[in-house]
Amino acid sequence: MPLVDPVTMSPPAGNAKTKDLGLPTQAIPTIPTPLAQGVRHVHPILLLSFFLVRFNALVSDPVSTMWTSLPVVVAIQSTYAIVCLPAAGSQTAKPAKKLRPGEKKSASSDGTVPNVAVTTVVALVLTTLATSVLHTFFVLFGAPLLTHLPHTSLCSLYLSLLGLFPLFYTHGVSNKEWLEILGARAPFDEAFGGLMGGCVGAWVGAVPIPLDWDREWQKWPVTILCGVFGGYVLGKLVGGTVAFGRRFG
């Protein structure tokens, strides 16, 4: 478990627990149970395979494919979050629990653990609300303003679902933590890495659109969605492993 990472530019996340208040947010590791670890690794494979399976349908009819695939992606993301990630609030309640193997059992039976169902639902609602903000940014980057509304909305919903949902689930609505996340100075973990990856992926996804290859898959927003999925999975992987605990700048 690479929790204490001495090779960071900022104080390692592990140190923060001793003097936590007023100090930067910590990276949030996935729950170390075998089940959670298993799901954590299956999750990206599942996500990418599902995307590949639906790819042709996506190219031929983006909107309805994105609609019909939505429940599946919500299910995958929720399961991943519930099984692998600590819900918002559990971190501050027991910041040190993962370091001591002996305490794990008691932590899971702890009465202060937040209600997972409520957290999930709240996170999903926040995810949906955030879609409109992402949609605005898509338009500001050049997405069509008046046409292709369902395309852009659904695309931003997917970005929100992949990139933001795990963060809502683990961080709730903590002002301080979200300031760090939006300022891109939060420590890398699976959730934050996923967001970064998803955003960069969406950015890179715009690159092939202008090319005159006359390919069906160049249509809006297929390439963006490819970027979002690819970037998310890559970011999550990097954020959960090599970059874990590090920060930008």
Partner: protein, 1067 residues
């Protein structure tokens, strides 16, 4: 009180007042400081009289050093400008060859020389103008990209490629019935693009990329050509196929039976061909024969199959088989008096592309057919068509005199070709008299053309032995008395060959070494620029703003007035660079001149290249000696990388026609990336006020960019994915009436926006309220009025005023706006005091007097902004209603950009100038331009003028075309001096560095487009996409260099002088 009354200008009263106030206030403050805080002044202050003198001496010294630094900096930029001019000159001299288009036309009744023969109906179109007529009508079938080897059968099937043996009819028919048909290699002159080829095939001359003629904007051919002669003599022309013809010859073709098809969809192999096939055969029926005299069918399938699949592919085979069948069928329908010509306009390379000058690209096929046996060969072995295109080829321009003389037309005036031997040699191949007559006639035409061309260009024709003039004399002598006709024929042919060789030398080839030299010089220039602007740790003068160090330094200088302090390292950089640049340039020039005079080659561009390259190398060495090298160019922050990504990715993208075509959207994407990244970065600021402001300005920057992006003028290639909004409709160049509201909205809100930005630093003081609130606002109102009047004029809304009066009013209004912006504006900028106001509030006891200098924190930026506003005002007027909105948005974006840069502490980064440059490019598109000739708004020349007047008209068109980049260039200093106080050191050096980054962006684009245009010189889109983009980049680079020297740096100097008058010199 400093006695600055040495300058007795009345206009200085403001200065004096402010300076006096400031000096007084400062003295009070210093006194107070000295009493309260002894340690800030380590030595007792000297008696005030001596101190004052010392201070004056110090100020004078600093001023003198500043002027020196300024001169060296300007020197550096002038050197850079020279390098850029030379690089572009070298490249274009190898790439864009120009030819003058003459307006003279050939006349049927007026041959260039008296014909040798005499015949019935001589000098009339019925009998033949300059030579007896052979055919009444002609059908010309142009199979685009029909390479010669496609038509030559290969017997050994195992060696046959996909394109062999599929189109054997041309070859077979010329072998089988040599008197009815002949097949020859048909050599194209580069550039082998269809448009240039059609010009060559109809005018008989060598088209170059830039044919400087009377209608520079349009593509229509305005020089003498076959079709023009046909039409002039009352012949009816029908065209089927590729629509390039209709662009070249608008209004030439019979309206109802001609059919044009879109030519640029290379994925579509069949639409054009099927259209031609469908419509050509009905026209060949006897009852339709009376409707036309000259029929053109232009098929594109072979060309498109090549572009899409390459020549060796089943699709090509199928296409050629189809062509074979088509020509067989067509031959059946030809009557006795009709000539049938089948030809390619160029070949294709191994990948199926064309445009350049490789053998495969220039070797096309020509086949002529007559139902009457007419054609002959001068030697029996010539009956078999040549096995390769290297044997007995004819030039494509030879088609023009051949067709003209066969059809009894005059040869077009600009023709350089000669009649094709087979067509005039007679059935037995011994009609030397006929051959001599046609060769002499064509040569006389060429001679006449040459004489007028050389006269028009002011050149002298060589008369040395072997020269064209000499050969003409020889041919003339050969035809005297009782001539041997064969010798006469050969003498005139030799004359034509020599003339053609001279012209080819002049016009039609890429000069690769020169192109490479240009690219190399430009690349070295970019490297020097990047190294010049790079930072090493000991010249981070932006952080040198240390008050204590400052004071200590100043005291030291005050005490020791005799010794001139050693200049900080950053101050001397320009000087050493310029010195080494000059030295290197002189050495290089000497070498170059030696080379030219030694080899006697007259190759002066080479001498220039030597001067530039040696100079560049010298500067590079000097820079690395000064501790600067490429290592400290590597960015070490996210912002540095962002600059690199913005600059490089776009430059790489110019290799693709798609990214070049969609550059406007891509610029928006990058600008949005900048805004988004800054919104994120702003959230890292420590205080909530900074965070809020940072996010606000970043989002504003994004939103304004997106708003501006609704102003679009689409280029042809963007269709159908783009809707133009710049004008009232896609087919007009006038504004819609709702667009007239835009300038009025600009007038109403822009001054207030500027005021709001100045108020944040309390800088809306001094001249600012009067200038921005009244004069600038007035200018905006006048330009809104101008466009309202313009619309009234166009729409005939005002009928009670004569049109001439209306135009006079308009022009006067426009001139007034420009006078306000440039004449009054410059004067005001030079004499304006700093935008500050000094309040001295006496507290209860005099020792703790409160001095407040309103606007002190933005002294440098606020005053300089006035200069930016002058340019903005002029550009807003000249950019048409939609563009005025775009320019206003740009100004607003510039203001939020400098706020962002200040808030996120990015002053020392390269991203500010790079974003500004990107913004300039973006607004180039948003003011109704594209990187295409057709988007130049020539009519803007008439905004402030009645007629074309030099140099004003070109300046106005440049201000209209490059308004975005010019405004961005003038605004560069704001990125580094916005929100800085008069104690900021190294203002000039910061500005020249920022300008360096800014210019480096454009220089990189220029380099990239240059390199790509050179590399892709065979690309189908070369003349539509890559060359125009290169020309835009080159023009922008030179303009930005010039504006940088004349406006930006000069403006910074003026600003610094004015501010130091009040606050003293910072360094």
């Amino acid at each position: 009180m400093p006695s600055r009354s040495s300058q007795p200008k009345a206009a200085l009263s403001d200065y004096k007042a402010i300076a006096a106030q400031y000096a007084k206030a400062k003295r009070l403050k210093e006194l107070e400081d000295a009493k309260n805080n002894q340690r800030s002044l380590p030595t007792e202050p000297a008696p005030s009289g001596i101190a004052e003198k010392q201070r004056q001496a110090l100020e004078a010294r600093r001023k003198a050093t500043f002027e020196k630094r300024f001169q060296w900096t300007v020197g550096f930029w002038v050197w850079m400008l020279c390098i850029h001019v030379i690089s572009i000159f070298l490249f274009t001299s190898g790439f864009l060859l120009t030819r003058l288009v003459l307006d003279e036309r050939s006349n049927c009744a007026n041959p260039p020389i008296q014909p040798l023969l005499s015949w019935k109906g001589q000098g009339s179109v019925d009998g033949g103008c300059w030579h007896p007529k052979t055919f009444d009508k002609a059908v010309v079938v142009l199979i685009d990209a029909l390479r010669y080897d496609f038509t030559v059968p290969v017997e050994d099937e195992s060696k046959a490629e996909g394109f062999h043996n599929a189109f054997p009819f041309l070859y077979e028919s010329s072998v089988k019935s040599p008197n009815n048909a002949f097949l020859l290699p048909f050599i194209a002159d580069p550039p082998t693009a269809t448009l240039q080829r059609l010009k060559g095939l109809t005018t008989g001359t060598l088209p170059t990329f830039v044919d400087v003629g009377s209608s520079f904007g349009g593509t229509a051919i305005d020089e003498d050509n076959l079709l023009l002669q046909l039409r002039g003599l009352g012949k009816r022309i029908v065209h089927l196929g590729d629509d390039t013809w209709t662009a070249l010859f608008p209004g030439y073709f019979q309206p109802n039976i001609s059919r044009a098809y879109d030519s640029f969809n290379v994925w579509d192999l069949h639409t054009v061909d099927n259209g031609v096939l469908e419509h050509i055969f009905p026209l060949m029926k006897p009852e339709k024969q009376g409707e036309w005299d000259f029929l053109i069918g232009h098929l594109l399938g072979v060309d498109h199959a090549g572009h899409r699949y390459g020549p060796n592919h089943a699709a090509m085979t199928a296409k050629l088989v189809q062509m074979d069948q088509f020509i067989r069928n067509l031959t059946e329908t030809i009557d006795d008096n009709t000539l049938l010509v089948v030809m390619g306009d160029h070949g294709m390379d191994g990948k199926g592309d064309h445009g350049g000058e490789s053998d495969d690209e220039v070797e096309a096929a020509l086949w002529m057919y007559s139902k009457r046996p007419l054609f002959g060969r001068t030697k029996p072995e010539f009956v078999t068509p040549p096995a390769t295109a290297k044997v007995r080829p004819v030039n494509q321009i030879d088609l023009v005199p051949t067709l003209a003389l066969l059809l009894g037309l005059p040869i077009p005036y600009n023709n350089l070709g000669r009649p094709i031997e087979e067509a005039f040699a007679g059935k037995k191949g011994n009609a030397w008299g006929n051959l001599a007559a046609v060769a002499r006639m064509a040569s006389a035409g060429i001679r006449k053309y040459q004489a007028s061309y050389f006269a028009a260009r002011g050149m002298v024709q060589s008369a040395k032995p072997g020269s064209a003039a000499d050969l003409w004399e020889i041919a003339g002598a050969a035809s005297e008395g009782r001539p041997v006709q064969q010798a006469v024929y050969h003498a005139y042919t030799t004359y034509q060959e020599e003339t053609l060789r001279v012209c080819k030398d002049l016009w039609a080839r890429f000069d690769i070494p020169k192109m490479i030299l240009g690219i190399t010089a430009m690349a070295l220039g970019v490297i020097v620029l990047i190294v010049y602007v790079s930072r090493d740790e000991d010249d981070d003068y932006a952080v040198l703003d240390n008050a204590e160090l400052d004071l200590a330094e100043k005291n030291l200088e005050l005490l020791d007035g005799s010794s001139v302090p050693e200049a900080a390292s950053y101050q001397g950089l320009s000087k050493i660079v310029v010195k080494s640049g000059l030295l290197g340039g002189l050495i290089g020039a000497a070498l170059g001149i030696a080379y030219v005079s030694f080899t006697n080659s007259e190759d002066w561009p080479m001498a220039v290249a030597a001067a530039a390259l040696v100079s560049l190398v010298a500067v590079t060495i000097t820079l690395s000696g000064a501790g600067k090298n490429l290592v400290n160019v590597v960015p070490n922050t996210v912002w540095g990388w962002l600059s690199v990504v913005f600059t490089l990715s776009q430059s790489i993208g110019f290799a693709s026609n798609s990214y070049t075509i969609w550059e406007d959207s891509i610029s928006l994407f990058f600008l949005s990336t900048f805004g988004f990244t800054n919104a994120v970065a702003a959230l890292r600021r420590p205080t909530i006020a900074e965070r809020t402001l940072g996010v606000y300005h970043s989002i504003l920057f994004l939103a304004l960019g997106r708003l501006a992006s609704f102003s679009k003028l689409c280029r042809e290639e963007q269709m159908p994915y783009c809707t133009s909004t710049y004008y009232a409709s896609a087919n007009s160049s006038t504004s819609a009436s709702w667009q007239l509201v835009i300038p009025f909205v600009v007038f109403l809100i822009l001054p207030s926006i500027i005021k709001a930005y100045m108020m944040t630093s309390r800088s809306y003081e001094g001249l600012a309220p009067a200038w921005i609130g009244y004069v600038f606002r007035m200018g905006l109102l006048l330009s809104a009025a101008y466009w309202a009047l313009d619309a009234a004029d166009n729409g005939d809304w005002i009928t009670w005023l004569p049109a001439q009066t209306l135009k006079t009013i308009q022009v006067s209004v426009a001139q007034l706006v420009l006078a306000l912006a440039f004449v009054a504006g410059t004067t005001a900028f030079i004499w304006a005091p700093p935008c500050v106001s000094i309040l001295t509030k006496a507290a209860s006891n005099a020792r703790t007097a409160q001095i407040t200098v309103l606007g002190y924190g933005n002294v440098n930026g606020a005053r300089y902004l006035l200069l930016v506003l002058n340019f903005a005002g002029a550009c807003i007027l000249l950019s048409k209603p939609m563009g005025s909105g775009a320019m206003a948005i740009m100004l607003w974006q510039v203001l939020s950009l400098v706020e962002i840069v200040d808030l996120n502490a990015l002053t020392a980064e390269t991203i500010g100038p790079v974003t500004l440059a990107l913004l300039g490019n973006f607004h180039f598109f948003k003011t109704g331009h594209q990187a295409a000739f057709s988007s130049i708004q020539w009519d803007s020349a008439f905004i402030p003028l009645f007629t074309i007047r030099y140099p004003w008209s070109p300046i106005v068109v440049i201000l209209n075309t490059f308004a975005g980049q010019i405004l961005a260039c003038v605004a560069v200093p704001l990125v580094v001096i916005w929100k800085t106080n008069p104690k900021r050191k190294g203002v000039l050096e910061s500005v020249t560095r920022a300008l360096g980054v800014f210019v480096a962006f454009y220089a990189t684009q220029s380099l990239a487009t240059m390199a790509w245009a050179g590399w892709l010189r065979r690309h189908l889109m070369l003349f539509r996409v890559f060359s125009p983009r290169f020309m835009v980049a080159a023009a922008v680079l030179l303009i930005v260099d010039l504006v940088g020297i004349l406006a930006t740096l000069t403006g910074v100097r003026t600003n610094a002088l004015a501010i130091s008058e009040v606050f003293g010199w910072a360094d």
